[in-house]
């Protein structure tokens, strides 16, 4: 059996204990549902001496309406997010994205917080130690070459978190805790274009909760995912859409794409084109075409994850249109 590296596990009961525990041993990592980090540990992509398990921290569970909008505890499983009636009603795009993550057992285990904090993925990286060693490792771990881009010096492993795209369209705010206290950061400000670590917070910042602002709730939303199988697979391309429609007019629109490069990518220029058009009108149809075309220009898939990247590129406009139209069903 593929073995785990040796580590010890701490099991804190509170956020305060957790952020304290993570500092006790250099290089410690949090573990939420374990569906991302455990395969990565088995692949020796990480070799922390200590893991801090979050499943016993009650404060980071729960889904509830708040003054701000909707609070989703980071440890809620993807199954809970997908089947929660509040989320289904108020944030249908997020429910849809959650439903399309991996397979049933992994959604029972994997958490919304874990999906946001998911490590980037690359077909030259998510492999065993033996496999990676056979071709001299790579930039992201243990090596200094990039197998995706010849001569590349910047890691382009792909953000592959389905729910991050949906959360971007909902302008989610992420609440982090660390030894210094608590901070909130807008999800679109979380990312940096570096496949090695694509977040501006560090691995010792604990994602406590996701807050969805009330103004963007209760609108139309969808998530369209390109993948070879209808279960288990990571996205080859993922498009989230949110539409606000009043009197058949598009009041607001947001689009976000994942599984291209190191960070989820909000497509603001493309989505802006639809605003103000009347659904079904010629203007709407023209705007939709232009929106798809401009998105296709903006998105440049790379041969970083499995699948033909030219094909993934060709699917960008198709999936954008389908995501938008699916909001109108």
């Amino acid at each position: 059996m593929l073995r785990m590296p040796k580590f010890k596990v701490l099991n804190p009961a509170t956020v305060a204990e957790a952020v304290d525990a993570i500092q006790q041993v250099e290089g410690s990592r949090f573990i939420a549902g374990g569906t991302d980090i455990n395969p990565n540990l088995k692949h020796r992509l990480l070799e922390p001496e200590c893991l801090v398990a979050l499943n016993g921290v009650e404060e980071i569970f729960g889904i509830s309406q708040t003054e701000f909008g909707l609070r989703i505890g980071a440890m809620e499983s993807l199954t809970n997010v997908e089947t929660n009636t509040l989320i289904q009603q108020l944030a249908p795009g997020l429910a849809s994205a959650s439903r399309q993550v991996s397979g049933p057992q992994l959604r029972n285990m994997g958490t919304i917080g874990g999906n946001v904090m998911l490590d980037t993925r690359c077909k030259w990286y998510n492999q065993t130690y033996f496999w990676r060693k056979s071709l001299g490792f790579c930039l992201k771990k243990d090596g200094d070459v990039c197998h995706v881009i010849k001569g590349g010096s910047k890691c382009v492993a792909a953000a592959s978190n389905d729910t991050a795209a949906a959360l971007s369209t909902l302008q989610a705010e992420l609440e982090f805790a660390n030894a210094q206290g608590s901070t909130r950061i807008a999800i679109d400000k979380l990312w940096q274009a570096d496949g090695i670590w694509n977040k501006k917070v560090g691995p010792h910042d604990l994602l406590v909760a996701i807050h969805l602002p009330a103004a963007l709730l209760n609108q139309k939303g969808s998530y369209k995912k390109l993948r070879d199988r209808n279960s288990i697979d990571f996205p080859l391309l993922g498009i989230a859409a949110r539409l606000k429609i009043s009197d058949n007019i598009v009041d607001d629109c947001a689009l976000c794409v994942v599984a291209l490069q190191a960070r989820p990518w909000p497509l603001d220029k493309a989505s802006a084109l639809l605003i103000g058009t009347t659904v079904g009108s010629d203007a709407f149809n023209e705007a939709l075409k232009a929106c798809c075309a401009i998105a296709a220009k903006q998105c440049r898939p790379m041969p970083n994850i499995p699948g033909d990247h030219a094909y993934r590129h060709a699917m960008v406009p198709v999936f954008i249109r389908r995501a938008i139209l699916s909001c109108l069903d």
């Binding site: 059996m1 593929l2 073995r3 785990m4 590296p5 040796k6 580590f7 010890k8 596990v9 099991n11 573990i31 374990g34 569906t35 455990n38 395969p39 088995k42 692949h43 893991l51 398990a53 499943n55 016993g56 199954t79 991996s102 397979g103 049933p104 057992q105 992994l106 029972n108 285990m109 209808n230 279960s231 288990i232």
Partner: protein, 165 residues
């Protein structure tokens, strides 16, 4: 080494094992509960599926310390439960798998049955699509799945008629 306090198939057990062992390794190699299988090493196949508080999870990706307060049910636990409910032999669902021919090599089936059992507990009358969705994380290489659907449907029907699982 660490002592894990686990509740497995109704038993309370203390297991001393290295901390980096997964729940699957504890079950198979420390406790001799070899019914849960290992097929892919890392959460891709579903053969190691067990229930944690009734919810199907992949034991190859579970750290034992994270399930210490929870009820773990493995394939060996189904017949135990069935008998404590007054039944004889194997459970209704296990019998249905046998009758439908759903078991060829049998290697994926403990995991498959644990997923199917959880489905039937939350939805006593699943349709074909519900079954496909519930089993979409359990790879079977032998059957092409049809006889598995038949087994689950027949167990649901018989369970409905007999009022037990």
């Amino acid at each position: 080494m660490r002592v894990f306090h686990l509740k497995i198939n109704g038993d309370t057990v203390d297991v001393a094992a290295p901390e980096h062992y997964t729940l699957l390794e504890i079950l198979r190699y420390e406790l001799g509960l070899t019914g849960s299988k290992q097929g892919c090493d890392k959460g891709d196949c579903g053969s190691c599926t067990v229930q944690v508080d009734g919810v199907p999870m992949l034991s190859c990706l579970v750290l034992p310390s994270t399930v210490e307060s929870k009820a773990i049910t493995t394939i060996e636990g189904l017949a135990v439960q069935h008998r404590s409910d007054g039944g004889e032999g194997a459970s209704l669902l296990q019998n249905a798998f046998d009758a439908a021919g759903a078991l060829q090599c049998g290697f994926c089936q403990p995991g498959m049955i644990m997923s199917a059992q959880a489905l039937l507990e939350s939805n006593a009358t699943p349709n074909r699509d519900d079954i496909k969705q519930a089993l979409a994380g359990n790879l079977c290489r032998c059957t092409g799945y049809t006889q598995i659907y038949t087994a689950v449907e027949s167990a649901a029907k018989d369970g409905g008629e007999n009022g037990c699982s």
